[in-house]
């Protein structure tokens, strides 16, 4: 509302963050603090930007609710860019409500979208999907539309709805083109490339073949039995049998499917399921028990017969038994594949699923985290592991543009 604030806001709107800073660098009134915070965020100084925006939000009086709500939204955006998910979602929701009540729909939508992206980062996919469908897309600017469609695409990809993801990527691309923002276009292209990368290997009859995500989805939709070594479970038609918490059953199913239509030797089954090289009679008894459990579990789709030297898988209907393995072998690839469902996993659950010790899994996760291929939320025992988001989200573009009080 005063001269230098207007001048700084004008510089900021023109992309001149340094020019804006120069004008208000020495001022500590809330409008100036807000402008400084946004300029800092655009320059990539996220911790400083948050501090300034927090001070600005506190500085605005009770009668300046609109300005305060905008500061809260901007701060939430910066927190998201820092991948700091500790902030209260309630504060953001209140700010969005204030903005809606004061007819600032663009910033209100942005606040709601930040909430969706936060849920995505936390791996709370169902809540994220519900919040996303509640958004009113009609009033969205092209850049906000692009971000919303990227979120929709990520949700679709995580649940392997490939055609839905492709459609969302296409809409995101169009919106980013309309917004004329090169960084946003690059982001859409980068996220879209996930569709073209090898996502898994198909192992059947001793032959291996790399699959893209759409081919994986097609394979799962086909008849037959797919033993999914990426997500640890069985696909039988439309049914999903998770075996992440039953590593012995999963190992047996995988060994049987790899050998299909041939049978597997008892000794080999014991070696892969129990990791014992010189079995005795007790292990053969244990194998019979575990095979019995697996048989009961998959009885609607297949049965397991005893053969002369071991066991063999027989499918009820036509179709093949196929193993879907991570694109490359090894502990780390298996972890990345397990996390690709987008939901949070604890270290102990990962260790149980992979049949490895927690310490081994922790070591692998630590290496993966350094490389940015997995990320974690929470601390100590509440720590959960997640795959990195598909789209990085260009924060700078989305900061609310006009902050001077009005």
């Amino acid at each position: 509302m005063d001269s230098l604030i207007n001048a700084a806001a004008r510089a900021l709107a023109g992309g001149d963050a340094l020019g804006a800073l120069k004008r208000v660098a020495l001022r500590d009134d809330p409008s100036a603090l807000a402008l400084r915070g946004i300029a800092m965020a655009q320059l990539g100084e996220h911790p400083r930007a948050r501090e300034l925006l927090q001070r600005a939000a506190r500085g605005f009086g009770a009668h300046e609710e609109l300005a305060r709500a905008r500061c809260i939204v901007a701060e939430a955006e910066v927190a998201l860019a820092m991948r700091d998910l500790r902030g209260s979602p309630r504060t953001l929701a209140t700010a969005a409500g204030t903005l809606e009540a004061r007819a600032d729909l663009a910033n209100a939508l942005q606040a709601r979208l930040i909430a969706v992206r936060r849920l995505l980062l936390l791996g709370r996919l169902e809540e994220a999907a519900a919040a996303l469908t509640r958004l009113d897309a009609r009033d969205m600017s092209p850049s906000l539309t692009a971000v919303a469609e990227l979120a929709a695409a990520e949700l679709a990809l995580r649940s392997l709805r490939i055609s839905a993801a492709q459609a969302a990527f296409e809409r995101a691309h169009q919106a980013a083109t309309r917004a004329c923002v090169p960084a946003l276009l690059a982001e859409v292209a980068e996220a879209r490339a996930t569709l073209d990368r090898p996502a898994a290997r198909r192992c059947a009859g001793g032959v291996e073949q790399a699959l893209r995500l759409d081919e994986v989805a097609a394979l799962m939709a086909s008849s037959g039995l797919v033993v999914d070594a990426c997500r640890r479970g069985l696909h039988a038609g439309a049914t999903w049998l998770p075996l992440a918490r039953r590593p012995v059953l999963f190992a047996l199913a995988r060994a049987l499917a790899e050998a299909w239509p041939a049978d597997v030797d008892r000794q080999a089954l014991i070696a892969c399921a129990f990791r014992i090289r010189r079995p005795d009679e007790t292990h053969r008894a244990r194998l019979r028990v575990e095979i019995g459990r697996l048989r009961a579990l998959i009885s609607p789709y297949a049965h397991i017969e005893a053969s002369a030297r071991g066991f063999v898988l027989k499918l009820h209907e036509g179709g093949d038994a196929v193993v879907l393995a991570p694109p490359v072998d090894g502990e780390q690839a298996a972890l990345v594949a397990l996390l690709s469902d987008g939901v949070p996993w604890s270290t102990s659950a990962l260790a149980l699923a992979l049949g490895a010790s927690q310490r081994t899994v922790q070591r692998a996760l630590a290496e993966l985290e350094t490389g940015g291929r997995v990320r974690s939320v929470g601390r100590t025992r509440a720590r959960r592991w997640l795959s990195p988001p598909l789209a990085g989200f260009t924060t700078i573009l989305l900061l609310p543009a006009a902050l001077p009080p009005e």
Binding site: S3, L66, R102
Partner: protein, 227 residues
């Protein structure tokens, strides 16, 4: 803080009369001008400061007649010959015929200045968050007098010996007449919800022209009759 300042004023003992502001006409928004930071009146035209351009508007038909390219971030004033315009932390003296900046003086608030008007050989400068109005020497920028009020000051104008200023805090916006000596509030015109006053200028007769901030509009508000 606002409450405290108010208590010191004699006006809180005898509350100033409050009326709803009567908006006579709205002008704009004009293409390429998405906000109005200040307004003035040169006897024929209304000038609106839109950030990068001073736009002259014919108040009869509402059409923009000409524009001057110059930085204009806050209040605007007219002394009978020249325009004065707050830009960043200075006040530019502008030739309205050419748009040329003839002289610049430092703004008294070092950039926290909002409204500007000319009266009795002085410039009067509103201070937004400081809730003050400075009277300054138009040659040197030296502060001659300080008037304190209890609201954020936006536009400032003198009309028939009365000092009026705009105020805009959050959702509340008013045009107020204050005592130029004590700063006491004498009369209040409340703007309707959703409309605010950024710049303020009297046309010398019965109207105020008010800048509408980010709405990009200029509104004409009827001035109450002098008692």
């Amino acid at each position: 803080m606002t409450r405290k300042t108010q208590d010191h004023h004699p006006a809180s003992v005898h509350p100033a009369p409050v009326h709803a502001a009567e908006i006579v006409r709205e002008y704009g928004p004009y293409p390429g001008a998405d906000r109005v930071n200040g307004v003035t009146h040169d006897g024929h035209h209304v000038w609106a400061a839109t950030g990068t351009q001073l736009v002259a508007i014919d108040p009869e038909n509402g059409q923009p007649t000409r524009s001057l390219d110059c930085a204009c971030d806050a209040g605007t004033a007219f002394d009978g010959t020249h325009l004065y315009q707050i830009a960043e932390a200075r006040i530019d003296k502008i030739d309205p015929a050419t748009g040329q900046v003839l002289a610049s003086i430092p703004a008294p608030g070092h950039g926290s200045d909002s409204g500007l008007t000319w009266a009795e050989g002085s410039l009067w400068v509103g201070q937004y968050r400081d809730r003050k109005i400075y009277q300054i020497d138009p040659m040197t920028g030296a502060v001659l007098r300080t008037i304190e009020t209890n609201r954020y000051v936006t536009g400032v104008t003198w009309a028939e010996g009365e000092l009026w200023h705009g105020t805009w805090e959050g959702d509340e916006s008013e045009i107020r007449r204050i005592d130029p000596h004590s700063g006491a509030v004498l009369e209040r015109l409340q703007m309707p919800a959703g409309t605010g006053v950024s710049g303020l200028e009297s046309d010398g007769a019965q109207l105020f022209y008010c800048g509408g901030g980010p709405s990009g509009k200029v509104r004409a508000v009827r001035r109450p009759k002098t008692r």
